[in-house]
C-alpha cells in the first residue's frame, strides 16, 4: 500500500519551499523504493508551520528538503517536527470551519474529492427549494459582504433578481488587494470548486447564466489553479453553456482600486479602472449595463455551506448584526501567522495575543491594523474591542476583509500615516479631486510633520484634509484613507512630535 503524503501547493507554503520539499519526498521515496502518492492540497492555514506535510492525519512542519530523509527514517511517526494530529492542533480545534472546511484536506482540482467531502450539497438544496427560497435563505442567514462593506448579500441578490433584464451577471471580486489578507487566495488555490458552486447558486437565485471571476494578477498560482478547476467543472458538466452557467476568469493588472466594485466593472469592460458614481447601482445597471451581482469571493464561497446546513445554523453563530463566521487572517509581525475561521465576537486582544501568540520578533505589540490599508491602527488599550462590523465602525475602523496586521514597538506611526496617504496617491483612480490631489498634499504635509516643520499647524491641516477626503471622495479609497491616518494620530500622538522630543533631549 502506498503512503499518501499531502503537501500544500498554497502560495504561502510554496514561498517557504514546499515545491522543494515535494521534490525531495519523491526522490527519497524512489531511492528507498517506498510507494508514496504525493498529493498537493491547499493549506490548513497554519502558515508558521509551513511547509506542513500530512501523513495519515498527522502533521510535520515546518519541513525543509533536508528533513526528508529523517522523516522516512522515522516512518512518519516519532520525529521532532511531528505536531500531532492536525485536526487536534489547538489552532485548528478552536476554529469553526465552514467556508474553509475542505481547504487543506482535499486535492483542490479533484472533483471527486470535492464531492466526497460534501461538495455540491449546496447546489442540491438550492435546486430543491428554488430561486426565491434560495435568496430568502441567504438573507435570513445574515450573511454580509465579506469584502469589507458588510452589505447584506441576500438584499443584493433580491435587487438583482427583481431588476428587469434578459441578461444578468454574477461578478466575483477576487481582487484581494488589502495587505494582510489572503483568504481569497487560499480558497482559489485550496478549494476552488466551492467558489464555482457558490457562483452557480447565485446564478440560479437571480437568473444569471454568466459569471466573471476577477483575480488580481499578483496571484498567478491562484489564477492557474482556479482556471484548472473551471476546466474540470466544464468537463464534468457542472459548468458550460449546456449546464446553464459559464464562468470566465479575468486577471487584474496591478490596480488596487479595481477592488472597488464599479472600478472592477470598468476594468472587466476593458477600460481604465475608474470608479463610477452611484446611482445607478450595479444591481440595476452593472457590467455592460446589465443587472449585476458583485460579491466578494468569501461571501460566494460561504453560500454553499449556508444552503447545505440551513440559514439558522449559520445565523446562530456570531454577535449582534455580524452573523456567521469570518476568516481572520493574522499577518505581519505575528508569531503564529495564518488563517483562523471563527464566529464574530472574539476580542482583538484574544485574536492577537492568544491565537496569534504575540509578535514574531518577541517584542511587545504596539499597533494592529485591521481591515487592510484603509483600516484603522489600534493600540493595546482598545484590545477589548469585539471583532464585529458595528464595534469596529463605532471606533472609526473597519473589519474589512478580515486582515489583522501586527506591529511591534519599533514601528513609527508617523511613517505609517504617511504611507497610507502615499498609497492612496499611488492607487487613486484620479476621478475625484479629494482623493487625487488630497492624497499627494497629505503625504507632503506628513513629510513636513516628520521633519518637524510647524508641527501643530500641519497636524491641523492633516485633520482638515482628512475630513475632506472622508466626506468628499467618490469611493472608499479616498473616503477611508483617513482611518489609518487619524487613528495613528489619535492613539500614537507621541510619534508625530519626534523632532521636538529629540531637540528637547539635546
Amino acid at each position: 500500500m502506498s503512503i499518501r503524503i499531502c503537501i500544500p501547493l498554497d502560495s504561502a507554503a510554496v514561498a517557504l519551499g514546499a515545491d522543494d520539499v515535494a521534490a525531495a519526498l519523491a526522490r527519497e521515496a524512489a531511492k528507498r523504493k517506498v510507494a508514496v502518492s504525493i498529493v498537493r492540497t491547499g493549506s490548513h492555514g497554519m502558515h508558521w508551520l509551513e511547509p506542513l506535510i500530512e501523513v495519515g492525519g498527522v502533521g510535520f512542519g515546518p519541513v525543509t528538503a533536508a528533513d526528508v530523509p529523517s522523516l522516512f527514517d522515522a516512518a512518519f511517526k516519532n520525529h521532532p517536527l511531528n505536531i500531532g494530529r492536525i485536526a487536534d492542533h489547538p489552532f485548528m480545534k478552536a476554529q469553526t470551519r465552514l467556508t474553509f472546511a475542505r481547504c487543506g484536506n482535499v486535492d483542490p482540482t479533484s472533483f471527486h474529492e470535492y464531492q466526497a467531502a460534501g461538495g455540491l450539497n449546496g447546489i442540491g438544496a438550492a435546486i430543491m427549494v428554488g430561486p426565491a427560497q434560495t435568496r430568502d435563505t441567504v438573507l435570513t442567514s445574515g450573511l454580509r459582504g465579506r469584502g469589507g462593506a458588510g452589505f447584506p448579500t441576500g438584499i443584493k441578490w433580491k435587487t438583482v433578481a427583481e431588476a428587469k433584464g434578459d441578461t444578468k451577471y454574477i461578478v466575483c471580486n477576487a481582487d484581494e488587494g488589502d495587505s494582510g489578507t489572503y483568504a481569497d487566495r487560499m480558497l482559489l488555490e485550496g478549494d476552488p470548486f466551492v467558489l464555482i458552486e457558490g457562483m452557480i447558486i447565485a446564478g440560479l437565485a437571480v437568473g444569471a447564466a454568466k459569471g466573471y471571476v476577477y483575480i488580481r494578477s499578483e496571484y498567478p498560482d491562484a489564477i492557474r489553479t482556479f482556471s484548472k478547476a473551471v476546466a474540470v467543472a466544464e468537463s464534468s458538466g457542472l459548468l458550460g453553456a449546456a449546464a446553464g452557467f459559464e464562468i470566465d476568469v479575468r486577471a487584474g493588472a496591478g490596480a488596487y482600486v479595481c477592488g472597488e466594485e464599479t472600478s472592477m466593472l470598468e476594468s472587466l469592460e476593458g477600460k481604465r479602472g475608474q470608479v463610477r458614481a452611484k446611482p445607478p447601482l450595479p444591481a440595476h445597471k452593472g457590467l455592460f449595463g446589465r443587472p449585476t451581482v458583485i460579491n466578494n469571493l468569501v461571501s460566494l464561497a460561504t453560500v454553499p455551506a449556508i444552503l447545505a446546513d440551513g440559514a439558522e445554523a449559520y445565523a446562530a453563530l456570531g454577535m449582534g448584526r455580524s452573523r456567521g463566521t469570518m476568516p481572520i487572517q493574522l499577518a505581519g509581525n505575528v508569531k503564529q501567522g495564518g488563517l483562523f475561521e471563527t464566529a464574530f465576537g472574539l476580542t482583538l486582544g484574544e485574536i492577537v495575543d492568544e491565537i496569534g501568540g504575540g509578535t514574531a520578533s518577541g517584542r511587545p505589540v504596539r499597533a494592529v491594523q485591521v481591515g487592510g490599508p484603509l483600516g484603522a491602527y489600534f493600540p493595546r488599550s482598545l484590545f477589548d474591542t469585539a471583532f464585529d462590523y458595528e464595534a469596529f465602525a463605532a471606533l472609526d475602523g473597519l473589519v474589512g476583509h478580515g486582515g489583522v496586521v501586527v506591529f511591534d514597538d519599533t514601528v513609527d506611526m508617523a511613517r505609517q500615516a504617511r504611507f497610507a496617504l502615499e498609497f492612496c496617491a499611488l492607487e487613486s483612480c484620479g476621478k475625484c479631486t479629494p482623493c487625487r490631489i488630497g492624497s499627494i498634499r497629505g503625504a507632503e504635509t506628513m513629510d513636513k510633520i516628520i521633519r518637524g516643520e510647524r508641527v501643530a499647524a500641519n497636524l491641523a491641516l492633516i485633520t482638515d484634509l482628512c475630513q475632506t477626503l472622508k466626506f468628499g471622495s467618490l469611493c472608499a479609497l479616498g473616503g477611508l484613507t483617513p482611518y489609518p491616518v487619524m487613528s495613528a494620530l489619535k492613539y500614537f500622538p507621541e510619534d508625530f512630535d519626534r523632532p521636538r522630543l529629540v531637540a528637547a533631549a539635546d
Binding site: A12, V14, A15, S179, R250, G270, Q274, G332, Q416
Partner: protein, 157 residues
C-alpha cells in the same frame, strides 16, 4: 529568467484576433501581448485600437492606468519586493533600501548591466510569512538580507 520573443507583428495580430471577440477584450489582449513580448509597443496599441474599434488614446489610457503594463522591456530578471504594511512590519523597507543600493537603482529601475529590474508590489498575499518577494515569478517568503543578496547575485551572474 524572462525570455520574451522579439516583436513580431504577425504573431501579435494572431494574439489579437484570437481574443478580440471576448467581452471587454482590452485587458486580456494586453496581458497576452505582454506575456509574449515583455512590453506593449506603440504598434501594439495601434493594432488593438483597430481591432476593437477604439481610438489609440483609449488604448493608451488603459495601458497607462494599470501598473502591470510596461512600455519598455524589463531587465532579464524582475525582482518584485512587497512594500505593503504586513511586509513593512517585518522590515521590508530596510530590504528595499538594500536592494536599491545593491542594484544602484530606484523603484522601476533596471541595473546598469541590464540584468535586474526592481519593482514594488503591493501585496502578494504572503502576509503571514513576510517580508515577501517575487523573483522572476518565483514566490519567496520570510525574505532576509542573505536570501536577497543571494538572489541578486544569482540574477547578475
Amino acid at each position: 529568467m524572462s525570455s520574451y520573443s522579439a516583436w513580431d507583428e504577425k504573431h501579435a495580430g494572431e494574439i489579437i484576433d484570437g481574443l478580440k471577440s471576448v467581452d471587454g477584450a482590452t485587458l486580456p489582449i494586453l496581458h497576452a501581448l505582454q506575456d509574449a513580448f515583455g512590453h506593449i509597443t506603440e504598434r501594439a496599441i495601434e493594432m488593438i485600437a483597430d481591432a476593437l474599434n477604439l481610438s489609440r488614446a483609449d488604448v493608451h489610457g488603459v495601458v497607462s492606468f494599470y501598473h502591470d503594463f510596461r512600455r519598455e522591456l524589463p531587465g532579464r530578471y524582475v525582482l518584485k519586493l512587497c512594500r505593503a504594511e504586513a511586509c513593512q512590519s517585518m522590515g521590508a523597507d530596510a530590504l528595499a533600501a538594500t536592494a536599491k543600493s545593491q542594484l544602484g537603482v530606484d523603484w522601476h529601475g533596471t541595473s546598469a548591466d541590464g540584468r535586474v529590474t526592481l519593482e514594488p508590489v503591493f501585496c502578494l498575499g504572503l502576509c503571514s510569512c513576510a517580508p515577501a518577494a517575487m523573483i522572476d515569478g518565483k514566490l519567496v517568503g520570510r525574505l532576509d538580507d542573505t536570501a536577497l543578496a543571494a538572489a541578486i547575485k544569482q540574477a547578475r551572474a
